[in-house]
């Protein structure tokens, strides 16, 4: 389960950045009304926070993949790595 969450983390960062670019472009082009602009701004700020958190928080994980005698896969922490 934890592994699945992790796999989704980076695509979300990508998504944050793409959406941010879109928000900024839309705000810069001024093609909405004020309410819409403020809503976009709020979303933009949230996306900025999330992108910054993702960029500064994570740590590289190194795992060793091992197949046992019956071919089942297992991942272990690599010796000397956390």
């Amino acid at each position: 389960m934890a592994e699945e969450n992790r796999a989704e983390e980076a695509p979300t960062l990508a998504e944050d950045l793409r959406r941010l670019e879109e928000i900024v472009r839309r705000l810069e082009s001024n093609d909405g009304d004020l309410d819409q602009a403020l809503a976009l701004f709020e979303e933009g700020v949230a996306r900025l926070r999330s992108a910054r958190a993702r960029l500064s928080g994570a740590e590289v994980r190194v795992r060793k993949v091992v197949a046992d005698a019956r071919g089942a896969l297992r991942t272990d922490d690599l010796d000397g790595e956390q």
Binding site: A7, A37, V60, L73
Partner: protein, 379 residues
């Protein structure tokens, strides 16, 4: 034939060449000759022209296409060979030649070269080197597989560079011997294992530098074929920059070193942080523009409720146009970041020339993080 011992009965050039050829062919017959390939060329006709040498002498030779094609590829220059040939004279040129029908490479280097050529031809034939099958690398990998020796420098380099660049990453290492007798089997097994891993979006095959023989497994046909079967995009990073192996051609990308491979594989967080910061500035500026415009609009529409709808629309269009022009003027935000400021009149016009700053004029200075009200002092 008459004896050519006096000027009365000289032989023609042809007679001499023909007689010499007859003597040589009859005297030597087909023989095995041992030597080193000093030079070898395949002509378009398919014939091989070569020079065989030893420490003191050299002889030129030819192997006709009909024989040469049985061997497929010629041995390399420098190879030690046994040649089965008929020493003869090429009459038209009056030159001594070997007419060879067999050529066996006898030294290890020569045999290895031949073996590599065979593997290369087989992989090429099956399209494994075809640039059209190269896949693009993922832009944001969150989990990558690395096939390499667990205690090699390659893995250490990859981890170190990953930590500097892209920490939102999981590296799954599949250990395999990268040299020695078991290397081929272990590499093939490891590459097959990559296809069973969930969530992996890229595979790096790596090893640090080594001698030519140490890199042999990366020229193995089985390893190359297993690499081609990996379902995710692959990077081959074998040895130091000058080493090239077949896996480099089979993988989707070739990296000169393991460090370069991980640089290729993951984005640089520092660059992304810059990008995020830049977006933050643009966001703040853009929303500033938007709210000012809306306020202006409200004010004006309140004053002129009687104005025809068409006029209103026209005016809004002009506002949008003007705003667009202002944004263009602002677009090099980097300039503001360097400490420059942009003076604009109350109506939004950019003030470019000293003459525009009439005494008493109120204007606004746009700086990186907002606007400052300003006024031209009386002279």
């Amino acid at each position: 034939m008459t004896s050519p011992l006096t000027t009365d009965t000289p032989w023609s050039v042809t007679q001499v060449a023909r007689m010499a050829r007859r003597y040589i062919e009859a005297g030597l017959g087909m023989i095995w000759i041992r030597g080193e390939i000093a030079e070898i060329k395949i002509y378009q006709s398919g014939h091989w022209y070569f020079t065989l040498k030893d420490a003191e002498c050299q002889i030129r030779g030819v192997m006709w296409k009909s024989d040469a094609q049985r061997f497929g590829l010629p041995p390399a220059v420098g190879a030690q060979v046994f040649v089965f040939a008929k020493p003869t004279i090429w009459e038209e040129r009056g030159e001594f030649r070997l007419s060879a029908t067999e050529m066996l490479v006898t030294d290890r280097l020569g045999l290895e070269h031949l073996e590599l050529q065979k593997i290369k031809a087989a992989l090429e034939k099956d399209g494994l080197f075809d640039p059209a099958r190269k896949r693009a690398l993922p832009e944001w990998p969150s989990c990558i597989a690395v096939v390499t020796s667990l205690d090699g420098a390659a893995l250490r380099d990859i981890i170190t560079v990953a930590r500097k660049r892209w920490r939102s990453l999981e590296i799954r290492v599949i250990g395999a011997k990268v040299q020695g007798a078991e290397a081929e089997l272990e590499m093939v097994r490891a590459l097959k294992l990559v296809n069973r891993l969930e969530g992996v979006s890229l595979c790096i095959v790596a090893r640090g530098g080594g001698g030519k023989e140490d890199l042999a497994v990366f020229n193995s046909e089985k390893v190359c074929r297993a690499l081609a079967q990996v379902k995710v995009p692959t990077i081959s990073a074998v040895g130091h920059e000058t080493d090239v192996s077949f896996t480099d051609f089979v993988a989707d990308c070739r990296a000169p070193t393991p460090s370069a491979a991980i640089e290729m594989a993951v984005p640089d967080s520092a660059e992304l942080i810059d990008r995020v910061n830049h977006l933050a500035v643009r966001l703040a500026n853009a929303v500033g523009q938007g709210t000012r415009l809306a306020a202006e609009r409200l004010e004006r529409s309140g004053d002129r409720l009687h104005t025809a709808v068409t006029n209103l629309l026209e005016r809004r269009q002009r506002q949008v146009d003007r705003l667009g022009a202002q944004l263009d003027a602002l677009s090099p935000l980097k300039v503001l970041e360097r400490g420059f400021a942009l003076p604009r009149a109350e109506d939004g016009r950019v003030l470019r020339r000293a003459t525009e700053f009439t005494p008493g004029l109120s204007f606004r200075l746009r700086v990186i993080d907002g606007e400052v009200p300003a006024r031209v002092e009386e002279n």
